[in-house]
Point group: C2
Chain length 533, copies 2
């Protein structure tokens, strides 16, 4: 498993290896960075594990969501269940940092979170799509209170250091103008007859009407600065009340300026199924979900249990682990079956007795190197000065994005911004290579190009680079299409008495739903195997 003090050289080699593995897939990287991972859920309701397991025991490795969901359901089905967890808390990547928390990353840097009471950062998962039915169902059963997570805010910014003199543009302006200009172009060529043979004449008439509506065009199908286009992109002077209250239309940005700015590249994000309305977050922090699971199965967990060996024979599974708080103190735990949710980054370093195909699969999946930085600000200037309530601004700088808190809107207090969320690739490697303090300083400097208020309002920050996380060595499984074809099914098979689960064993990598669905599928198959004797 993990060496306690990995040397920097090894870490760097690992990073370079990862870069090598994604080289040549720039398009995919681009897609992953800007889109997150496109995936959803096919959950149809709580599983029912019917049939008597006759006292069979299951040892679960990992007390993240996959492990705890397995424990909950297997115990309910009649199994004897135990969980070993490396960390000193339950939840895994379902994790929230609050004032007073400390975090030591690989390399030894320890950060103490200095956020004020009530403020937090979710270093791992932070949002829940409406179609992640499995996770939402557990939230419902546990009574975890949800609030909307704002992904798309029309009033947030799109920013490029290379366009508009570095001045951030409002999403609503870029989106409306792109939609307007392209609608005007299509209307013009329609009127000129260039759609003949592609669209019937009758449909062309309706198309023109539709483009006028969709693109905020005028009666002659022109996209112009006007009160009408301002009804979509916003005004130069908003309408008001009383005398002198007439609105003044805003100017529009020319198509050529929009195209060359490349800010249109962020617009597709907002339309992705996985980012569509209504998304959620638990009130108070993502770890409310992990805590709710732990309330159910916490009694089954042995913490600080650093697994070093997973052995099996035809009678059962034996797992060797070290007490992470007493290095050298080795223990063993045995059971009839094992559900292993250990991340592949770590599992690939553990002596596990499974067949060649699963061994190969375990070794085949690199992990993305996401970095998040939380920045506490003295006041919610993005709301007070800029009227941005929640949502995300995108930038071409390494921080990639700034996300505004989706809670406590319009309140007078402080707030924590997600000041950097870089997902993978060179930017994330660069941030990973920095000390936590450097990451925070860089996030503040880059963010200040979008919000000059940073300079005055920044108070403190905390930075999590997932490749330096001792308990996952990365953020989530980074499958290529080729790796999936060759290894995915081998990874998910039951090998003797061992089955793997976790987001890495799903088509929804990086999402909690992937962990949940993978786990439910694994234990359903395991249960069938057990019943077959």
């Amino acid at each position: 498993m993990l060496s306690d003090e990995p040397n920097a050289g090894m870490r760097r080699r690992d990073l370079l290896k990862l870069i090598g593995m994604t080289a040549g897939s720039a398009a995919m990287y681009q897609a992953m960075t800007s889109m997150g991972l496109a995936a959803t859920s096919d959950y149809t309701g709580p599983i029912k594990l019917e049939g008597d397991p006759k006292g069979a025991s299951v040892l679960i490795l990992g007390a993240g969501l996959a492990g705890m969901a397995a424990a909950l359901e297997l115990r309910q089905a009649g199994y004897k269940v135990k969980i070993l967890e490396f960390n000193n808390r339950a939840g895994g990547r379902n994790w929230t940092l609050r004032g007073g928390d400390t975090y030591t990353e690989l390399g030894g840097a320890t950060q103490k979170c200095e956020f004020d009471e009530g403020l937090y950062l979710n270093p791992g998962p932070w949002r829940i799509p409406f179609h992640h039915h499995g996770l939402l169902d557990y939230c419902k059963r546990f009574g975890v209170q949800l609030e909307p997570f704002q992904q798309f805010n029309h009033n947030a910014y799109l920013h490029s250091t290379k366009a508009f003199g570095g001045k951030p543009q409002r999403v609503r302006e870029i989106k409306t103008d792109f939609q307007g200009h392209t609608s005007e172009l299509l209307a013009k060529v329609t009127q000129k007859g260039h759609l003949e043979g592609m669209v019937t004449e009758e449909d062309q008439e309706i198309l023109l009407e539709a483009l006028r509506s969709w693109g905020a065009l005028d009666k002659d199908y022109g996209y112009k600065a006007s009160l009408h286009s301002s009804e979509f992109r916003g005004y130069k002077k908003d309408p008001g009340g009383g005398i002198g209250a007439e609105p003044v239309p805003s100017d529009i940005i020319g198509l050529s300026d929009i195209l060359s700015s490349r800010l249109w590249g962020s617009l597709a994000n907002f339309a992705l199924y996985e980012f569509q309305t209504t998304m959620f977050q638990p009130v108070g922090g993502m770890d409310r979900i992990g805590q709710a699971f732990a309330k159910e199965v916490g009694d089954l967990i042995t913490f600080n249990a650093k697994v070093t060996k997973i052995d099996q024979n035809e009678n059962g599974v034996t797992v060797t682990y070290e007490d992470a708080e007493n290095p050298g103190a080795m223990n063993e735990e045995s059971a009839d079956w094992c559900v292993c949710t250990i991340p592949l980054t770590i599992l690939s370093q553990i002596d596990i007795q499974v067949g060649g195909p699963m061994q190969a699969a375990i070794a085949a999946v690199p992990y993305v190197s996401a970095v998040k930085v939380g920045l506490q600000m003295k006041r919610r200037f993005w709301e007070e000065d800029e009227k941005i309530f929640g949502g995300i601004s995108y930038t071409d700088q390494p921080i990639s994005q700034i996300s505004y808190p989706s809670t406590d809107y319009n309140s007078k207090g402080k707030g924590v911004l997600l000041g950097c969320y870089t997902w993978n690739g060179p930017n994330s490697y660069e941030f990973t290579a920095m000390s936590p303090e450097e990451r925070v300083r860089n996030a503040v400097e880059q963010g200040a190009l979008i919000h000059p208020q940073y300079k005055d309002e920044f108070e403190n920050g905390i930075a999590v680079a997932w490749h330096r996380s001792p308990f996952t060595l990365g953020c989530s499984g980074d499958w290529t299409e080729e790796a999936r074809k060759e290894h995915y099914n081998n990874l998910c098979q039951i090998d003797g008495r061992i089955v793997l689960a976790g987001e890495h064993a799903s088509y929804i990598p990086a999402w909690q739903e992937g962990a949940i669905l993978s786990s439910l599928d694994a234990i359903t198959r395991l249960h069938q195997r057990v019943l077959q004797g």
Copy 2:
């Protein structure tokens, strides 16, 4: 003012007159219905009324938001302030109905709201755009807790009884497919050279890239059923976890079917500035705002005061009013100045001593006839069965829309749907002409074409037709461009010692922000007049 029992014939004549006044403006009606009223705010911060009013007194008519904001600010500036209010509560159209409330409309029908504890309907305003800065600022000062109001839900429905066999379509499917098909068409004509002379060759190259991104096109700029288009419109089978978890792409709807369905007509709604993210609602009901104002100025209000005459001379204003609870008991109140926020529908029936231009303006503005129906359902089937969390489905039926509650998401309890919100025109007149019970029955019958669960889950309902509201005789001022040119400035002038305020005296009619900004502008000008002596 109001006759206590208006005869139905008179009411009908009024309605027909209103229909007459909007005849010939079908386009505008369409725009108003589908878009609401396009308007925002130019508030720049709390007003400061500096200078000593030397004990001057102001009588305010109406304890809605306009009246209470005026009272709050004028008292703070040193004025002696009183408020007369016809209703027996503060807030005006800022109003929330809960279980146990009763409401008697013109015609005499009394409804008792039977909602369960915690459920409510906002018959009047129900959402707050992020740019309604004046209103949001009062919310902040008062500590009114806000939560996001979900306007746009990709997973809600677009429904036409005349398209797709009457089967509702998900917004995300219609939107993605419309965007995809039109992007494909524009890409094709670009490739064929038809944009020559309109777009430079260099820009055409970027345009093609942008269309591929925006429209979810494939590498050949085609919009096809694929995993890629499914990443935006949703899948036939969502990706899952473990074995057999591969996603299956969804089919796409042909352009011709989308065009002829006319469902694209609702898409523009979602992009309007006034409906853009992030919108808000007060936690617990819109009347939390009115209550917060009343906490500040409630001591100034005389309730049940039915104004019958507004007189002025060079020394001051005298208002005659009847005690609505003791008909025939007349009273008088005098002051140096008067801020009148009485809706024009009612003010036009009161003997008010102002000049001809203001008299004409008061008579010139018809009011829209919005109707809302709240339906309590035994369970939140739209969430449980259909995964619709908040947002709005649109239909071509008279109910126009169904809005799902933007609160208590994913909870196990009951919920209240907004089962009908028709804004103006024939549908609203028809609903207004029905008894409350008929309105509810019709809303249930029409809604059941979209959600068959209505039949089993409906428990009780309540219906508010604003043209039958005794305290406003309509929903809000319905300005035409022509009426604005001729009358708006005359309406807003200070006439002797009287100034009018309210949403009707703003460019943001129907929105609370219009009332606030109109009021702040009116009292600012009034204060200047007072200081001038």
